[in-house]
């Protein structure tokens, strides 16, 4: 039954990484410049889950944190330091493709899944206690 603990723990870790990603998205919802210096606004990140704990065992893990390439909102702000300088979209500022509503819902889902894994751990613990009474 220790294996079940590992499985649930992998679930907790994966959901926490997802929450961190969501928190990052929300924090950067207005960031019109990328952190790595490349042109363009912050792009929303998504934690991609895959079955197995990443090392061949059972459970779940985050296989990658992918950037969502979809375009963000364009707002006409010619004076903005990050406004597009040339081309058909001159004068527009591209904002991140983060929709707060979506991030909120995802945060709730991640939280619910996190709670479920905690509950599963509690059940595993009581099963193990019960089994140990066989020895008594």
């Amino acid at each position: 039954m220790f294996g079940s603990l590992d499985v649930s723990t992998s679930g907790l870790i994966a959901q926490r990484v997802r929450m961190d990603t969501i928190a990052g998205n929300v924090a950067n919802a207005q960031a019109t410049q990328r952190a790595d210096g490349q042109p363009g606004p912050f792009k929303r990140r998504v934690a991609v889950f895959a079955a197995s704990d990443g090392e061949g065992g059972p459970g779940v893990h985050v296989s990658e944190i992918r950037e969502d390439p979809s375009p963000g909102k364009l707002v006409y702000e010619p004076g903005h330091p990050h406004a597009i300088q040339s081309g058909p979209r001159r004068g527009y500022v591209e904002y991140p493709n983060v929709d707060l509503g979506t991030e909120m819902v995802n945060a709730m889902l991640a939280s619910r899944a996190y709670e479920a894994n905690i509950a599963a751990i509690e059940v595993t613990k009581s099963m193990m206690s019960a089994t140990m009474r066989l020895l008594a």
Partner: protein, 105 residues
């Protein structure tokens, strides 16, 4: 005078026959045609095997090779029960032997 129950020594070839008489070699008594001596040796074997299984199971749990706690704990408990049974059998046998020794004939 010869010991009525022939428990003394359990010499090979002499088996405890029906109550009171040392049976001729080859005569059997007890469950399923087994002699009492065979039964005892068989029991020792079984207890030994159960204890080995239990020990192996415990080792597997401790080294993380198995997850199956119920199976291992059951094996441990079975080994305990078997050993207790063997001990009780031994105690009863010793008691019986002492009683017989004290018999005045």
């Amino acid at each position: 005078m010869p010991d009525p129950l022939s428990i003394h020594g359990l010499q090979p070839g002499v088996q405890a026959g029906p109550l009171g008489k040392p049976g001729p070699p080859g005569a059997t008594a007890g469950l399923d045609g087994q002699s009492f001596k065979d039964l005892l040796l068989d029991s020792l074997d079984q207890v030994n095997r159960l204890q080995q299984e239990a020990a192996q199971g415990v080792q597997k749990v401790v080294t993380g090779q198995t997850d199956n706690l119920a199976e291992v704990f059951t094996a441990v408990r079975k080994a305990d029960v078997a050993f207790s049974m063997l001990m009780e059998m031994r105690n009863k046998l010793v008691e019986a032997y002492r009683e017989v020794q004290q018999m005045r004939i």
